[in-house]
């Protein structure tokens, strides 16, 4: 019996991609802690060690993970016996699932089989991402409700309201890009951005859709519950919002969910607006000719890593720069600024496309 190469590749990818995403968490936590420390003129955590090696504080996330694992699985009195435990899983699983359609390089050929460099390739990839990502808010809302705590409930309610307002803008702000490239497939989108604009600029979404890009980034911050939109958590007024009552591994699952969705959103920004795996000014065929297929794939992965690395850093950087919005400001920004701008953006894009392509 021979196992077909596409099946082996599918299994390998299904294992490798989530593992890669989860392994980014400790690094991100480390960058967040030390980075925020340096931003605030502090040293940051640097004590955890093996023998006398501290690895610049890189061991702290691992020590934290150990601590989370060995803590008592605690359920507060009157918390819902099922949903209280279900909620963390409902946050972390969708955020991992959303990663499935993000391509990290162009297709590769293995013994005559064309293999995509994402866990799966869907024709409606971007719609799938939005659909799955919005399940995450269910987890947060359920966590808020099932904890039987007023702070948690408020956090859950806030997060539902925030998600509804900003998911709308999230979806609408990418429509411009989708109209221009005429596809919902993320790999096709990235491929479409390989061309050059007026012979100099790469044809990236950000140059064609600067307004769409800004709106999308704003909506992404709201979607990831990161400052300045971390109202569901709101430590100063809601203690810790929806995860006030969670400790140990359940808390760390919320934490993982937040960071994985950061990775997903950063890769979405990179794919939609910065050419995804495109190495600027070099198309797949040109790279293939110069570097061979392996070199081409590696350099595309590297280009993608640089792009999402920057946006992950932007998430962290903004968090330690901006204060939290007030709730009414959040709603005003969402409904009165971002949403109308996104609609106008779609209208203008559609009109321009219509005029440019003739009727």
């Amino acid at each position: 019996m021979t196992i077909e190469i596409p099946y082996i590749a599918a299994v390998l990818k299904a294992i490798a991609f989530p593992v890669m995403a989860l392994n980014m968490i400790p690094v991100l936590v480390w960058i967040e802690r030390r980075g925020s420390a340096f931003i605030q003129n502090r040293i940051g955590p640097n004590r955890a060690n093996i023998g006398s090696f501290t690895f610049l504080g890189l061991l702290h996330p691992f020590a934290d993970a150990m601590k989370f694992m060995f803590k008592e699985p605690f359920r507060p009195e009157n918390a819902h016996p099922v949903f209280y435990f279900l909620a963390p899983a409902l946050v972390v699983i969708p955020s991992l699932m959303a990663l499935a359609v993000i391509p990290i390089a162009d297709h590769v050929w293995v013994q005559g089989h064309e293999i995509s460099m994402s866990v799966t390739e869907l024709e409606y990839g971007i719609a799938y991402v939005f659909a799955v990502a919005s399940i995450g808010v269910l987890g947060i809302a359920i966590a808020g409700w099932a904890s039987n705590n007023k702070y948690s409930l408020l956090g859950g309610i806030r997060s539902t309201a925030q998600m509804i307002s900003y998911e709308l803008s999230l979806g609408l702000s990418v429509l411009g890009v989708l109209l221009i490239f005429g596809t919902l497939d993320l790999n096709e989108l990235a491929r479409g951005q390989g061309a050059l604009l007026w012979g100099v600029l790469p044809k990236w979404g950000v140059f064609l859709q600067p307004v769409g890009f800004l709106l999308f980034v704003v909506a992404c911050f709201a979607e990831a519950n990161r400052l300045p939109f971390d109202l569901p958590e709101g430590d100063s007024e809601l203690v810790a919002g929806y995860h006030t009552e969670y400790g140990g591994f359940k808390f760390s699952m919320f934490f993982m969910g937040e960071y994985v969705s950061m990775v997903t959103l950063a890769s979405l920004i990179a794919t939609l607006f910065f050419g995804g795996w495109q190495v600027p000014w070099m198309t797949t065929t040109a790279l293939d000719a110069h570097l061979g297929e392996l070199g081409r794939t590696l350099s595309q992965i590297a280009a993608f890593a640089v792009k999402i690395g920057f946006f992950l850093w932007l998430f962290i950087w903004v968090r330690w720069t901006l204060p939290r919005f007030r709730y009414d400001q959040l709603m005003r920004l969402g409904w009165k600024v971002v949403l109308p701008l996104a609609l106008v953006n779609i209208l203008v894009t559609a009109l321009v496309l219509l005029l440019a392509n003739g009727f």
């Binding site: 980075g35 340096f38 931003i39 003129n41 040293i43 800004l214 720069t321």
Partner: protein, 165 residues
């Protein structure tokens, strides 16, 4: 707010620039950050810092304390416990057999130091009580109270009390 401030974006870019400047500066000037690496680096204690208690001793090593209970009476936290015993023939009439301070109750007010007529208790070790893993370990007995010497200051602060040292 003018228009430029109302659309946030320019102000956000300015804010990001400030934090980035801090980050890069601190990355390359880690030594000049105000943070002290605490157990390895410590600030010098001020001369009148009220630290861990010390029972002072005479030249022959016996305690100066006469078990008069004035400190225990003055203590607002009621955390000093003294049991007296017969003094030595050549010394004072009484001396402490048990002298316990419960450091978990102590509020570091130094009223015990002020109450003592014999300069027998001081808070001049310049030490903070170390953490411990049980409540019993925070009850300091005579051994712990005579363990650490006073910090050396150019002008010992409590000299004028009780006439002689």
């Amino acid at each position: 707010m003018d228009f430029k401030e109302r659309i946030y974006l320019w102000e956000i870019v300015k804010g990001l620039w400030i934090t980035l400047r801090h980050l890069v500066y601190n990355l390359f000037h880690q030594r000049s950050m105000p943070t002290l690496h605490y157990p390895e680096e410590q600030r010098p204690m001020p001369a009148r810092y009220r630290g861990r208690h010390r029972l002072t001793q005479r030249d022959d090593g016996s305690l100066k304390c006469t078990a008069c209970m004035l400190c225990a009476t003055a203590c607002p936290a009621k955390c000093i416990y003294i049991e007296a015993q017969e003094g030595l023939p050549e010394g004072t009439e009484k001396r402490p057999q048990v002298y316990n301070i419960d450091m978990l109750k102590c509020v570091y007010c130094s009223l015990c130091v002020e109450a003592c007529p014999c300069d027998a208790i001081r808070m001049d070790t310049g030490l903070m009580p170390p953490p411990a893993d049980s409540r019993e370990k925070f009850i300091y007995r005579i051994e712990e109270l005579t363990k650490y010497p006073a910090i050396k200051h150019p002008n010992p602060p409590f000299l004028h009390r009780c006439g002689k040292l």
